[in-house]
Symmetry: C2
Subunit: 186 residues, 2 copies
Amino acid sequence: MSGKLYLIAGPSGVGKGTVVKELMKLDSKLALSVSATTRSPRPGEIDGVNYFFLTREKFEKMIEEDGFLEHAEYAGNCYGTPMKPVSDKLAQGYDVILEIEVQGCMQVLEKCPDAIAIFLLPPSYEILEKRLRGRGTESEEVIQKRLSAARVELGYVNKYHCFVVNDVVEDAAKRILDIIKEKRGA
Amino acid sequence: MSGKLYLIAGPSGVGKGTVVKELMKLDSKLALSVSATTRSPRPGEIDGVNYFFLTREKFEKMIEEDGFLEHAEYAGNCYGTPMKPVSDKLAQGYDVILEIEVQGCMQVLEKCPDAIAIFLLPPSYEILEKRLRGRGTESEEVIQKRLSAARVELGYVNKYHCFVVNDVVEDAAKRILDIIKEKRGA
């Protein structure tokens, strides 16, 4: 029996990465989708684990061959979700988890209408703002831009199937696993 | 010290009424806002408890005198939130809970920019649909209309301050109380 594809999206700063990391610890039949990028590996990053590191030539060839579930360009580098590793894992019976931006999620849903799109919300804007400030690494201008981007992204919530509030990381991860388990049983 | 006004809104069928009823049991410093209506009382309904039952004449006079936080007309009857009972309770130090439709909530926020707007989400559309069907009282056409209304209403989520998923009524009520307690402490 093949697995299902779960898309975990949500506004910038909501904590998708942390929740997905926690989720992966909870169940051995989950596989994490690895993105491809044309940017250079940072120290310690491993090809095929953190990212598939591709040349721009190879990346563009894969676009032509319709090899991505979604792809986009940020700051001069290409990022995308290669289709084959996802479909291989699904065929092996894994449920595949794909952490993704709100816009990219819509692209994937067009190609994979059976995927389950889970929207991760902050408990409140106030807490989202605190989390963004808490990193202490970004200027006021960047924080304000991210907050207003978050407001726009939240407006897409009605395109999603399931809704999870990231109040406590462990609880949010468990609630996502509950959704997955319910689908397995259905 | 005066209390705060909390607006509990969310799509049709999400279970606002049940959650608010549970919430009111949890804390003695909460007061529930009572709506006014021009419709006739149903058997067992008590004036000032279930609704303030007003004549249309009296209702229209109150509109002229700017006596409502919000008001609307449904199916030939007027419904509204009288301002005075809310401001009286706030002055007495109660936190006031107002269960309201998504559209009405926006009207209240314009008049009361200090109010905290809490959006109640269903865990998923699938569950929302099951809950609507579970009532067993409505035709397929009505269910489809309510589902598509819910999708529109969810699109307003980015106008709200806080987000709570109504998975288990008791948990959702406790999460709302946590928000209130945090504001009391702030």
